[in-house]
Symmetry: C2
Subunit: 195 residues, 2 copies
DNA sequence: ATCCAAAGACAACTCCAGTTGCGTTAATTT
DNA sequence: AAATTAACGCAACTGGAGTTGTCTTTGGAT
């Protein structure tokens, strides 16, 4: 989705307007209620333009996802791996509870399940997130809290996985305690040398 | 979706035909390619009938899901918790690789993200699955392999979560080794007393 | 055996997501 | 600053998902 020929000016403005409109529509009506026409109307861009450049709803989401992937996110630094990893998982959990971010994030996950394009974008997003979050594990290793053999990214995956599993697969509520327990479990496994 | 007034005869035949057709269409074209019209044609039931009884695509999936929830599934019994839990997770993983079951299972997860009705059905499905799978953990406790304080269902959740997370959220491939490691991690946490 | 009501079949219709062809605007090139 | 052309806007069109009204079938009761 990189614009090569005419990056500046009108094209860029159109793209920004559509991206903004996509996020706004997503926050309001979720993935189900996202239509190309609504995004077009909201952005002030004609619907044929949107169809030609983004193809369909999944394309819109994939593009908006790239935007989100580049936003840095606040990795905790409490002084201990336990505090940091718990912080990371809790950050994920509370993000989905947020009335603003929640629907948008959920929409990303839903869209990626139906569109290879969105799936690739989401994959890249999580690659970046895993890298950033793995930092808390690496710091723990440096402090001697964890064995040097740990796979930092894998610890992060195992820590956050139960939150996503509950939310999007089993459709169970996820409490603060659930999130903390998931972080602790990943940590216990890391300490035991299995991750 | 329980039929009270006219359970036997034509209504039951129609329901079975539609359920079968839904599963077949799902296996062939996935969730994206599932349309009410195709299911109607394949089942030999008129499309208006399908619309009136199932409402939409999500309704079809929710109904098919109930069918799947009642099918028993082979809980491993290898003699050790480690072997059993690894078996459970590997069963989940390989299920999604199966060219027949994979698309259907994926469709269930995708549908549940967009339809409260399908979400409820999937929730019930996993409740049942967790109960059945927790058996391997409870046996482990009886053998003295795990502390009596463990939450058997939670161990199962933490064990299988990384597989679903990789598949449906991060969109990474899931190897046999990844599945085994996830099971081991849950077990290590359980032994450490955090689950 | 007859009757009744619930469920299904059928055809015609509506509506809106997505498409197409063409004219217009504006960003870039020379 | 004139020319070029990619990108956008516009209006009309298409197709198919979903709806509605009505008639027919059939399961079950009397």
């Amino acid at each position: 989705m990189d614009v090569t020929k005419r990056p500046g000016g009108r094209s860029a403005r159109v793209r920004d307007a559509v991206r903004q409109a996509t996020l706004a529509e997503l926050a309001e009506h979720g993935f189900r209620g996202l239509t190309v026409e609504n995004v077009a109307e909201r952005s002030g861009v004609h619907k044929t333009t949107v169809y030609r450049r983004w193809g369909n709803v999944e394309g819109l989401i994939a593009d908006a996802l790239e935007l989100a992937a580049h936003e840095p996110w606040p990795v905790p630094d409490t002084g201990t791996v336990e505090g940091d990893l718990r912080g990371v998982v809790e950050l994920v959990r509370s993000g989905f509870e947020d009335p603003e971010l929640g629907p948008v994030s959920s929409a990303f996950v839903a869209a990626a399940m139906q569109s290879p394009e969105a799936a690739r974008a989401l994959h890249a997003f999580f690659e970046a997130r895993h890298d950033q979050s793995a930092q808390v594990v690496r710091r723990g290793v440096e402090r001697g809290e964890l064995p040097v053999t740990v796979d930092a990214r894998e610890v992060v995956r195992v820590a956050v996985a139960p939150v996503y599993y509950r939310l999007f697969v089993a459709h169970e509520p996820v409490s603060r305690e659930d999130a903390g327990r998931a972080a602790d479990a990943a940590l216990a496994a890391a300490r035991a040398g299995v991750l």
